[in-house]
């Protein structure tokens, strides 16, 4: 199928790198920003294992990180928790890890 020749102007495919001299008022200085990054006080809803997940998981990320995840199988949750420990060095002991997986498989599980 042909593309209908509806574009009258030359298409500037190659003119992507332009000299800064062509800018109207080029930026010459930067201002030091000072901002406040919102913190989250959201916690996991209570239930078996909520103490462990609240105690271990909120240091690196807020609870909505997990709450927004899809329903996953217990095996998938085991993999996620193992990755947090192995790759991202979450200092979670084996008992807690098991309870966290149970919590996730119960609240966000998939048969």
């Amino acid at each position: 199928m042909m593309l209908r020749p509806l574009l009258p102007a030359p298409v500037l495919v190659s003119a992507i790198l332009l000299s800064g001299a062509s800018l109207g008022s080029p930026i010459t200085t930067l201002k030091s920003p000072r901002v406040e990054i919102p913190a989250s006080d959201l916690v996991f809803p209570s239930g078996p294992g909520s103490e462990q997940i609240n105690g271990n998981c909120l240091t690196c990320h807020s609870a909505d990180h997990v709450l927004n995840q899809p329903s996953l199988s217990k095996e998938a949750w085991e993999e996620v928790v193992a990755k947090m420990i192995r790759a991202y060095k979450a200092p979670v002991n084996a008992d807690d890890a098991e309870k966290i997986v149970e919590y996730l498989a119960t609240t966000k599980g998939r048969p």
Partner: protein
């Protein structure tokens, strides 16, 4: 082409560079943003997200994660023009430990490793001491649209808004490397920012590029987007811009460049961000025995931006239909639409080319023949003749989804 036909207030490079200030780039008084939740209508998990205005230097954003922030560009923004306003450019951090204030006088960019001379560049050195370049490019997360993959997978549950286009101003990475003098035997260049891993021993977020790629003259160190300094959450003061490649390479708050004479062995290169080395990165759930390769370039995509699924359109009458597209690591060759489930396609008219790595608008008229449920499919083909697939892209990490989009409408 008269771009006024496309959108009432298009944000073009021309009017941006005329000195549009933060006000005109910022939130417009659109009642649609009075709402506080957005529903993505996906099965298999929570489908709603709050719209937040709580983040500094940011307008209304879809809150995917509070900390470290994952803030998605609300999809309506993409209908307004090809350049995403800075205050709605999406945000993604790996680690929560990054500074909330930066002293521009104290900041230094270090260039070290397999070089003749270690550099410690001030922002003044970068803004005034090196040739400037400017380039439009889409930053898109490797996990964009993960929310829509089926079966669902773990990870950032991005809808379609973890992509943004900006006109970047900065200096060529090549010029910075040349100033340091890359020694013979150098192989890769590794980049790090001011963010730090939270837990001791956890991997600092780093990414690297092969030396040839790093020196291609397009990879740049940006200090401005859309003519203004970067919002802190988008990586102030310096961000690596890797045109055509996934945003994971676009290191924010870039302060460390290390030239290596051996492959990069850090976690984020060797283990993270890997996808199947199969056509379209696609495998079957449970499939094994394929090779994993790093995510690299982005792929062609296109979206309808002025009609949403669930909208009503007139049967038997033309409906103005427009949207955006991008080619990935090259330009957009064509955008086609189908209203018969992909059996036949008709080309859309492309808008101005603001740079091959950027968004490109398209528009056309669509006439759905009869009343009832109808679908509008849109497909981008890039200048390398690569086109979006019809089948659902799927891999266990939900990377590089670029299946043809379908907008489901009701004709009446």
């Amino acid at each position: 082409m008269d771009r006024q036909k496309f959108v009432p207030h298009p944000m073009t490079r021309r009017n941006l560079l005329r000195g549009a200030g933060a006000g005109s780039l910022g939130l417009m008084p659109v009642p649609a943003w009075a709402r506080t939740m957005v529903d993505f209508h996906v099965p298999g998990g929570p489908s709603t997200r709050p719209i937040t205005t709580a983040y500094p230097q940011k307008g209304p954003m879809v809150l995917q994660r509070s900390s470290p922030p994952w803030l998605e560009t609300p999809f309506e923004v993409f209908d307004k023009g090809v350049f995403t306003p800075n205050d709605q450019h999406y945000v993604s951090w790996h680690w929560a430990t990054f500074p909330s204030e930066i002293d521009v006088d104290a900041f230094r960019l270090t260039v070290r490793g397999h070089v003749n001379q270690t550099l410690s560049l001030s922002l003044n050195d970068i803004l005034r001491g090196l040739p400037r370049v400017e380039l439009a490019a889409v930053s898109q997360c490797a996990g964009a649209s993960r929310l829509y993959v089926q079966p669902r997978v773990a990870g950032a549950q991005w809808a379609n808004g973890s992509m943004s286009n900006a006109l970047w101003t900065g200096v060529r990475l090549r010029d910075v490397l040349d100033r340091a003098g890359v020694k013979p035997g150098a192989r890769v260049v590794r980049f790090g920012g001011l963010d730090e891993a939270v837990m001791p021993g956890a991997p600092k977020f780093l990414k690297s590029l092969d030396l040839d790629h790093a020196r291609d003259g397009e990879v740049m160190i940006a200090f401005a987007m859309n003519g203004e300094q970067l919002p802190l959450l988008n990586g102030f003061p310096l961000k690596l811009v890797v045109p055509g490649w996934c945003a994971v390479y676009w290191i924010k708050m870039l302060n460390d460049i290390e030239v290596l004479d051996k492959p990069d062995d850090n976690y984020w290169t060797t283990t993270g961000y890997r996808m199947p080395d199969t056509p379209h990165g696609t495998v079957k759930p449970g499939q094994t025995g394929y090779k994993l390769v790093p995510v690299t370039r982005i792929l062609p995509r296109s979206f309808v931006t002025n009609i949403k699924s669930g909208d009503t359109v007139k049967a038997g009458a033309p409906t103005a239909t427009r949207g955006i597209s991008f080619g990935g690591d090259c330009g957009v060759a064509r955008v086609d639409l189908s209203i018969d489930g992909g059996q036949s396609w008709r080309p859309a008219r492309l808008g101005d080319d603001e740079g091959k790595y950027g968004f490109r608008q398209w528009q056309t008229e669509v006439t759905v023949p009869s009343s009832g449920p109808q679908s509008i499919m849109v497909r981008c083909t890039n200048t390398n003749n690569e086109t979006q697939p019809t089948f659902p892209v799927w891999n266990p990490a939900g990377y590089m989804f670029n299946t043809i989009e379908t907008t489901h409408v009701i004709a009446a």
